[in-house]
Point group: C3
Chain length 365, copies 3
């Protein structure tokens, strides 16, 4: 046992994906990330190599050559697939090996697992099936704002040493802005904490709305829009299993109603794709889109830079939180306060999906 | 099991303090360390946040907000306490939460564990109770030399990747000076090894005295005092569970008797607070005080600099020793030699305290 | 269990060597490495300190002072042995302590394990016995090319975070050159993969020969020898348990036969001593010797530099391979292809030696 522990020191054992909701689309990355090199990523305990073939097709395969286990992500992308960097075996997007240099016969077993992937709205979605090789049973989510001429956007991704649901918690309660993000999108802590939070749920979606008229415009807002001393600010958060959409912004007081979806003013539309890597780590793929004020210079780059900074502040907090959770162990319970309603709804949705899945797994066994 | 091992990789699980002597004062730090930021430290497997409130009170709390587990040491110090950096809950030195922003009612459960602390002689002492919340049953130790006008002192602290008792061993036998510390306080190895060592014990205190007349003054001594080729040197070491006091120095030959507590000459008074962090790591809080020769320039800064260098040499040796102990495992026994008498006494005192404690624990169970 | 796991975090527990073939000579290093400092190395789970006494004798002892467990490799080399850097105990090459400063009597138990070592052809060989203290039952291997005036050589050593047999696999099939080493000794991938491979075995030796007439001379060859567009190239690999000898080179087409051991042309003679460190790590001691063309400047330094670069490319591939093996676990099987014949022979030899050893161990138990 000890020996085994040593052997896997610092290594995440890959394998079972059933600790996560399956038969779901998850975000695998952004279109802009797929250049001429394969990318190694682990999703739900599955090691995957992502690549775009020379012929333009996006593909996702098990990241392990079936010959001697070198990651295929150490290889090279060619017109027809990805070639292993050790002895040159070539794999098609289907997972089938289509060339073994120096050997005529290609055994049927010379293949690796393939995943269904879809490229849509400049996002790469991967289908994580309950049964290996099963086809997707629904369409990948839409996110039209990446293609909407009203907005420009930038994106990034952060690796988290923390389980994915801690990011859900963070995003479903933006009252932390006044404590964590004072340099960018923070604003007035007390106003945030005291604003009424409206939480609704429809099926497996949770929606949290907080309206803050008479708010102090935070630095990021002031840099992008000619606000005065106050603004009427809104936060609309929509949770879906694989990602959250957060629409925030503000209008000048006395102009549009802040609960009118056709309101004007400054808009920030955040996309937050959170994909479990392992039980204790995850990927956070984010984009931020905003609109430009007609009389102010284009500043999407600055908005994205500040967003990257802000999301990194969250990462520091969440990783410190998780480290502390590990150190104190399970007996250290959480005390709920008023801001936790939305996050707790999302947790119940994930729990229910997992319970259903386990029930089916057991029935099948 | 494997999964669990991975999850806690590089993480020290916090919890049981009963592997260490309890109902004892331990050193938590020096007064000079407590500025306007909280400090995170682990003592006897308990994660603690230390801070001085804006009102000047030193406090020590469990380092975990009861809401969502962020370390309170990631927060900020205010007049009345420490405020969590995630959602702003404010805690008083008593451990009670005294504000939840945006929520009127504060549940009684909104509190964290508090530790008794005392600030005395510019040292912060923390009481580690056997029963959670129990009051100290004795006074914190005195160390008047920090406040004695004859001396100036400087202090530091080192984190050790080694169990605390290896530092006791090191300090209770200074014969290693001739091998480890030739650049500073070393001196003549053979003279050290051959000098008679007088070991006495009174209750839970051990005293080791070694007198070395006709010794070669080492570099640190020569830099501080106008010694000639030889000096009469003494080493007096007093072990207490939580700290050692080491009084070393030398007089010019033919002046004072080296076993007279009122002797003149050059004096170095070392304070060595050794506080277990976990079973395998510890804190080493040290200070060094020395007196000034009337005809030589003030050089306490140089004495402290050389002390810091010397104690770092010890750290390298002790960490290498412990690493080797781990690698060779328990079957690699130690062979005692003549210099080990004092250290072995101290080990017996710690063992006896732990045995008594376990007996009481079992009787209570 | 959990606690134990933490304690040994990042630590390789030292101990049983029976997971490796014993009663064998292994490479411990090169003569050029042994200067005036002791060297700490672990072979087959045994921590060893290597040193050359002031009197010139090469010695290998257990790397742990029997007093307080400091590694002897933290000490200093003297005329008669190695002195511990903590309290000064001095050990002879026999492992016996021959001085305890300040103590007259030296207990018989004051000794550490000693290993038989031989220095031969500028290589240090260490005998890893099945029974502690048993004498070698055969001579250390010869490697005369280090002393052959036809060649000059340079050497290096790499530490591998991978088990030793993955390097055997790599060296016994040079078809990876066309994928991994294009910048130095690569050449034409398809020519390599399609060349006939001749594998023979004699006792516990495996020999792999591949002849590639009409090959493209790779960069390292062109820098050392005035080849034109093609050359007739050979690769002769000899596997022994403790090391491989690889004789590669090329002649100009139409001159000597490439399977004639007296052929001329450009020669590279690689020595590859692979010594297990632990079950999951190993040492790779290599040297590269080559001959000089009469009309070209001496370039052994450049050959060695390119060799070091090439072998580092292998290390990156093999460590990535092993990491992936750990992550995918044992259920991820390997599919053999045509190039694996030699490597599989070597694996069977090692397996057979281990089976025999286990049988003897069990009979003895």
């Amino acid at each position: 046992m000890t020996t085994h522990c040593i052997a896997i020191n610092n290594i995440q054992r890959i394998g079972d994906s059933h600790a996560f909701p399956l038969d779901q689309w998850y975000v695998a990355g952004f279109s802009s990330e797929l250049g001429d090199k394969p990318i190694a990523r682990t999703f739900l305990n599955q090691k995957v190599v992502l690549f775009r073939t020379g012929e333009g097709q996006v593909a996702a395969l098990e990241d392990r050559c079936c010959h001697r286990s070198l990651p295929l992500s150490c290889g090279t992308v060619e017109g027809a697939g990805v070639r292993c960097g050790y002895h040159g075996m070539l794999y098609a997007p289907s997972g089938q090996c289509i060339e073994i240099p120096g050997q005529e016969r290609i055994p049927a077993k010379a293949r690796v697992k393939a995943y269904a992937v879809v490229e849509k709205n400049q996002i790469i979605w991967i289908w994580m099936p309950k049964t290996e090789g099963a086809e997707p049973t629904k369409s990948a989510p839409d996110y039209p704002h990446h293609d909407d001429p009203l907005y420009k956007f930038g994106s990034g991704n952060y690796h988290y040493n923390a389980p994915w649901q801690l990011i859900h918690d963070n995003l479903l309660d933006l009252s932390h802005l006044g404590y964590v993000h004072l340099k960018t999108i923070g604003g007035n802590a007390r106003l945030h904490m005291n604003a009424e939070m409206n939480v609704t749920q429809e099926g497996e979606q949770v929606r949290v709305v907080r309206l803050m008229p008479g708010s102090t415009p935070p630095p990021t807002y002031k840099a992008a829009w000619p606000f005065g001393d106050t603004c009427d600010r809104w936060q609309e958060i929509e949770f879906d299993l694989s990602h959250l959409r957060i629409w925030t912004g503000a209008v000048e007081p006395g102009t549009d109603a802040i609960d009118d979806p056709h309101r004007g003013g400054f808009h920030m539309r955040g996309f937050h794709g959170i994909t479990p890597e392992t039980a204790t780590t995850c990927h956070y793929f984010w984009s931020m889109a905003s609109n430009k004020h007609p009389d102010m210079p284009e500043n999407i780059d600055e908005v994205v830079r500040q967003t990257a900074f802000t999301f990194d502040e969250d990462r520091l907090v969440i990783e410190a939180q998780y480290r502390n959770m590990l150190e104190f162990g399970e007996q250290a319970k959480w005390l709920d306060i008023h801001v936790d309603v939305g996050a707790n709804r999302a947790r119940r949705i994930v729990s229910k999906l997992l319970e259903q899945q386990q029930a089916t797994d057991m029935a099948a066994a």
